[in-house]
Symmetry: C2
């Protein structure tokens, strides 16, 4: 076994974990991916991260940077041996906040919620928001270009970062924490490291954008008769609310049915035809004036939707509690999916104009291949991002999971037809690494490999992730 | 001389220009940079662009991609010999518009205004807007990550592009015209090519974001007693208007004085102390409700500014004509600068929180070195982007221009102190190429060189621009 004295010299014996101690780090939080690590090293500063990387270079030892270990595609779990896990959790300081510039400088190991809370305490909004926010880290959010529920208004993680501090693959520190809205002095290295899943270098800190906290937020639930109508409603809402439209979520009927079945305290307050609508849309309006103004605007624009027959019925929240209840329906879907059984899951993106056609055609092809499976479809329609899942229906769980590869192929072929993406939010990791090679433009893949080769010539950074051939030499 | 038969075979004789015919292409529009080109080739399709690049690869002949030739830093003018200018002006088709997805696919040679107009005809806004919009091309806008007057709300050119079609340095075509708001399938190649000033490949088409057209826009002019007050007013306006705030421009007293002197039909309608204010701020509010609502919101928020003593006085436009008059003051500054004589110009960016301190300290240092020069300062304060110019004052034009390098050094040293940038909008080109080497983080420069080497190993793409050592081999 490799001697780890050099690591101990850098970070101290307490922060080099081996054997049993590595257990929490080598399996992903859902228990879907598992691997082995030579050790887990927990540096306490950027300088220590750089020293660890230089040490690993000397040993030709691959490195796996890890934050909160909440990847949904095995991006932070070992997939090659040997590998050293480099945990960023001790780099958890908020270095500074600049409310006049609307920026905050945070270290990679900060928990997302910690950053949200710190901003809120300074009357600012850090708008990145996703289910894992209580345990995922900013470093992981940036490495995977996390999305979440407010992308429609504020963009993905990449759009929220102005500057980075990065330890390069050879252990140098790039001091790029500029907090500028405009900077045209060369290649956009920030955007390159963001979303590279730790395969090009290690993000140790970032300068992030802050926003004003909305004065009011209001929510409406709309029953619609088709996905086409939902897409038209989106156009109307964008025109009516512009940047005030902070969420536009779509949910198929069976999703909300499962929620109500699973959580009897929740209910879908529509009646008649609307209660049987095939699709529902959750709309959130953020307003910089008042609760009253937000409500009036929702009434006005959704009134137009009713007049134009884009909506079967509309429920507008009367107060914050009702808003939360409507959101709770949406947020309960992943939990309620358990009622429907394990499923073949997708995190896809398609142009909004193609969503209805994509769903119709793909559903038909899947039904032709596996008659009676159940489609479980919901997601961020405002971004064209759907959780397009296929549950067992009349099959057993084991059966539907055995269809996984064939279903993937049907879905990915359809995505290719409509210029969609096989990963809108979650990234590639190890889960979709081999699929990416099949479906990505070959010139694009070649460019990615050239960049990987240029910035990490020894293939030491998060090997076996993202690029199928990025295995250590 | 090199035989150009191969080029003629690709594009036809009419589209290979030599000798006198190259004149309009080898000098920039301001006549500041001039060079020589072996020829100008004007391909008519992406396939022809790729064929030209492959031909140039065979000849080891450097290529200079060119759009509308409106660069402000010599980015599109030859600086090495021999070089072949590749004009994108014939790739001028709008390929498609998708109003449901709010995207438009345009070729690189489309004039910016053509894209704005096409979007407007489809009730959509393409928000990129800048002085050269009647002649600059989308390809050039993307290659330089153009900014302009609406960055505060809509971002730079990079933020407005969702997908690209690119001819790589070795003449392959990357088909990356996806129109997705979320796509996490690898490295962000779009952002890398955007802003790379043609040094990594040739952008031939792009998928761009569209937005709803605001229902109303209103403008206010505010007299403030200091840059600190202007920055505080920005915070108040961001809180009050959020994304509705589409412009926040600052202008020093002498800039508007020069405008009024130069164009007697224009006037500054303040009186008393406000008329003598050292700084003025132009605020534009875009509204998705009505003219009346926009006006009420401006009155409300700027009323708070007066109460909080952040403003000396406020003029709110009564109608569209008055709005245009207020904007006309701002837009006339570059023309009126002629009254003040040629100047040493900067296009800098600093954190908003540092603007006042930066201006105070830098002005003081420049006055210490050159007592009596005149400071001409205006720009996009909302983005921290200032046109920080130094005019002759009590010197001759020739004298102040002879101070240029020394003034650059004072300004760039101060920028380094406040983590600012020496090019917020215009890019590097050849004008600031040698300065970049002195002021950019060395690790950042090394990363840029590694990427350049990986994607353009023969250094054939726009040689002599951006990176000081990117000369052809």
């Amino acid at each position: 076994m490799m001697k780890l004295d050099g690591l101990v010299d850098i970070v101290g014996a307490d922060h080099v974990l081996v054997g049993e101690q590595t257990a929490p780090y080598v399996t992903d939080w859902r228990g879907r991916f598992s691997g082995k690590a030579l050790a887990v090293v927990r540096p306490g500063s950027t300088a220590e991260v750089a020293a660890v990387v230089r040490w690993a270079n000397e040993q030709r030892l691959p490195l796996l940077p890890q934050g909160g270990n909440t990847s949904l595609c095995g991006g932070a779990t070992p997939s090659v041996e040997p590998v050293l896990i480099l945990s960023l959790l001790r780099l958890n300081q908020i270095r500074s906040i600049d409310t006049a510039n609307d920026t905050i400088v945070v270290e990679a190991g900060c928990i997302l919620q910690q950053v949200q809370d710190y901003a809120a305490a300074h009357q600012r909004l850090f708008p990145l928001s996703l289910a894992a926010e209580g345990s995922c880290t900013i470093g992981g959010n940036l490495a995977t270009n996390a999305g979440g529920t407010q992308v429609l208004r504020y963009g993905n993680a990449r759009d929220l970062a102005l500057g980075l501090e990065v330890v390069t693959a050879d252990g140098q520190i790039w001091h790029g924490l500029r907090g500028l809205r405009k900077d045209n002095t060369g290649y956009d290295l920030c955007s390159l490291f963001i979303g590279s899943e730790g395969t090009l270098g290690i993000i140790t800190a970032a300068t992030l954008k802050l926003y004003p906290v909305p004065v009011a937020q209001n929510t409406a639930l709309v029953a619609v008769r088709s996905l086409e109508a939902a897409a038209q409603l989106l156009s109307l809402a964008r025109q009516g609310f512009d940047a005030g439209l902070t969420a536009f979520e779509v949910m198929a009927h069976n999703c909300l049915e499962a929620v109500v079945q699973c959580f009897p305290e929740q209910r879908l307050a529509f009646s008649g035809e609307a209660a049987q609508a095939p699709w529902f849309v959750l709309i959130e309006l953020s307003d910089n004036e008042s609760e009253l103004h937000a409500r009036q605007r929702l009434e006005e624009v959704l009134g137009q939707a009713l007049e134009q027959d884009l909506a079967l019925d509309v429920i507008i929240a009367e107060n914050t509690r009702q808003s939360q209840e409507l959101w709770h329906l949406r947020e309960s879907i992943p939990l309620a999916e358990k009622v429907l059984g394990k499923s073949v899951k997708h995190d896809i993106g398609v142009p909004v104009s193609e969503v209805a056609d994509f769903v119709t055609q793909t559903n038909a092809q899947i039904q032709a291949a596996y008659p009676g499976v159940e489609h479980v479809i919901f997601g961020h329609l405002g971004d064209g991002n759907l959780h397009y899942n296929v549950a067992k229906g009349r099959y057993t769980e084991a059966e539907v999971l055995s269809f996984e590869k064939a279903i993937y192929k049907i879905v990915f072929d359809q995505l290719q037809r409509v210029q969609g993406t096989l990963s809108a939010e979650h990234g590639i990791g190890q889960l979709k690494r081999d699929w990416l090679v099949l479906y990505q433009d070959p010139v694009e893949l070649a460019l990615m490999r050239q960049i990987k080769q240029a910035l990490d010539p020894l293939n030491l950074m998060n090997p076996g992730k993202l690029l199928a051939d990025s295995l250590p030499k």
